[in-house]
Each structure stands twice: as C-alpha cells, then as structure tokens.
Symmetry: C2
Subunit: 78 residues, 2 copies
C-alpha cells in the first residue's frame, strides 16, 4: 500500500520551487502525493493546521509536518 | 543520469525525522542521495553555505537549497 503524502502550498514562488523539486522528487511507487493549494482550497486549512502545518510550502507524511523553506504563514491564508 | 541530491544534517532529532521521512522518500531511481553530517564533516560546511544552506536539516537539489523545518543554524556548527 502506498503512503499518503500531502504537499500544501499557496502558489507562491517558494512554493512552486518546493513543489517542483521536492514534491516532484518523491518516489511515486511508494507515495500517493496530493498537491493542495490552500489559497484555493480554504476548506482544507483546518486539516493542514491539525497536521501541524504552520506555513507553506509544507509536506505532511506519516503524521509529521515538514516545512520546506518559507513562503507564507498559514495565518496569512485565512 | 541521476540527479544529485545532498541532505545536510547535524544529527539533531529534527534532522533525523527529516532524513527518515523526506530524504528517505526521494525516488532513488532518479536521485543519487548523499547524506552529510555537518557536525562530523565540518570540511563540507563551506560547500553547504555556497549552496545556500542556512540551517539544517536541508536538502540541496538542482542548485536550490530546501530547508526542512529547523534543527540548527549553520553558524552553530562552526
């Protein structure tokens, strides 16, 4: 079974770089990678917060949030 | 040809989590992943700095530095 990985972003330049390089480099034979634009999918902000996401871009895998560089604080997207 | 990816860390708990989860999730059919412990390999601090690494853990791919959460500033390792 593949592990779920969610990449949260907000379309910012820092986010795009992280999406292309880091999210794009994940092993798709092991991970189902979902890309979520929190600027557009505001309904998923609470889910991201619960997963420990403080800023975007961030990658959530196995219950852990990994903030990759810093594009925008989650609070700025509300 | 595989792309080179270098994961810099300093053995900190934040680093270990990022190494296991993020560096461990990279597609090894596309990336040659090198793990560098900057606390032990101080000679490579300048290389990391040149790549734009400000703190560990960080992943450098295609000339870009991606800081993953925050374990320690590079300056603390000198």
């Amino acid at each position: 079974m593949k592990t779920k990985a969610v990449f949260y972003h907000a379309g910012c330049p820092v986010c795009v770089a992280a999406e292309q390089q880091v999210a794009g480099a994940l092993d798709r034979s092991k991970f189902d990678v979902e890309i979520v634009h929190l600027g557009k999918a505001k309904a998923r902000l609470s889910e991201a917060e619960k997963a420990g996401v403080k800023s975007v871009p961030a990658l959530v895998m196995n219950g852990q949030a990994f903030h990759i560089n810093h594009g925008a604080d989650l609070s700025a997207l509300k």
